[in-house]
Assembly symmetry: C2
Homo-oligomer: 234 residues x 2
DNA sequence: TGGGTCATTATGTCTAGACATAATATGAGG
DNA sequence: CCTCATATTATGTCTAGACATAATGACCCA
């Protein structure tokens, strides 16, 4: 039980990472077996295994039983995209936001439960920033029926009240209709970024939202650090 | 050394996950200390620690020394977005693609090294699908100077030849200029999705690409499974 | 009361050894 | 030469114990 380095696992990971980055070990290259790495770095096999597991999580390495560990082939280019709550995003920019509910109505959905429907506009610095059309399943979020969406945007409210979700985003460029263009203070047919988000809790739908941004006022930014698994976002 | 369950770590993780999902443990709730969990589940503390580490990676849990482990507050809504190589994406749809280089020229960049610049069009089913403007830093990818981009799109070629990268994506809705509209066989001013991607190897730039899609023909889709860290993409 | 010091505590990491598992490689039999 | 059962091998996971580290909170002193 000699403690070789302060951070053996990290040292191993960074060493292998370096060899892959530098091109010394190309995609498909077989990485020495764990026992050999353990001997080389003077540590236990479990430590090597942990380092390799982190490299797998980062997408740099593939492991197959019996076969061994290999440098991963450049995969589909994936990125961690941060799609913040809209109101939070605006607040973070040091700007103000307002929520203007334009319609709140209920309707029976297929299961017989109520669905809350809310349409509104987000403002930043007194300029219209985004249109939002949202539905909330009251069966999953009964408290939403009592919430005051004049004081707090539905997205913010939901983020604070819903424990956890899975989500599906669809991003698309669309031309603004005449009504949309008027609401966003731009020209009819202007290019807009449409973000649709379906959110579930477990496998039951919670909310659906469509947000429409003026194309000249909004970007989606995604950063991806390959190899570290480090997440960083807009 | 009694082997309690076939997968203690997994069982622990799913149990805690369930409590968080169900709302039994709300954000900010303190999770019992590892020793207690180890006793409760009848396993070693290292196993509990591993399970908690996975929950941290999934964003469900926060851990602080001395303080303990806590249910994470609903974070910024992040999603793993898969932005595949364009040619690969088209091929996966069972459609064909063609690459038409329109210009290949070199220029000296600030450092004095060569930059390769390529403009082209992607086709799917004989319809123009996307415009692409790309620069490649030859200092980082010297082999690109010899590559035959008539046979293989630059994105595909780079994916196969560059070991690893970090990347930054910017997604924006823009109106097509007259020339762009003509190339995409759509109307002038049509809403298009513009994807810009800067790619680095370490901290040195490798390539920059701007891809312009017809808004009515292309979506970006991002799936996010909160709590599992599972990645699934378009 | 204010502030600095120190012991406590819970997580962070590692070790050495063990057994489980799956995929490959090998060899026997047809 | 092909096929199927078996042995081998490398990863996957776990245990029990140890030491490291950082943040908290209590204690003591000015």
């Amino acid at each position: 039980m000699t403690r070789a380095a302060p951070n053996p696992a990290r040292r191993i990971r960074e060493d292998i990472e370096g060899r892959i980055h530098s091109g010394e070990w190309k995609p498909g290259t077989r990485i020495p077996i764990e026992q050999e790495l353990a001997a080389r770095y003077g540590c236990a096999r479990a430590t090597v295994s942990k380092a390799l597991a982190e490299l797998v999580a980062a997408g740099l390495v593939e492991r197959r039983r019996k076969a061994g560990s290999f440098v991963a082939h450049p995969p589909v280019h994936s990125a961690v995209m941060t799609v913040p709550d809209l109101a939070e995003l605006i607040a973070a920019r040091g700007e103000s936001y307002r929520w203007e509910a334009r319609a709140i109505l209920r309707r029976k959905n297929a299961g017989g439960a109520d669905t809350l429907q809310i349409d509104g506009i987000h403002f930043a610095a007194d300029e219209p920033f985004a249109l939002e059309n949202r539905t909330i399943e009251l069966a999953e979020v009964p408290a939403a029926a009592e919430a005051n969406f004049a004081a707090e945007a539905p997205g913010t409210w939901l983020l604070a009240h819903i424990p956890w979700t899975s989500a599906r985003h669809v991003v698309r460029a669309v031309a603004a209709t005449r009504a949309e263009a008027a609401a966003l203070a731009t020209g009819s047919g202007a290019a807009c970024l449409q973000l649709e988000r379906d959110t579930w809790r477990g496998d039951r739908p919670v909310t659906h939202v469509r947000q429409l941004f003026r194309g000249d006022r909004f970007d989606l930014v995604a950063e991806f650090q390959a190899g570290t698994g480090k997440r960083e976002g807009n």
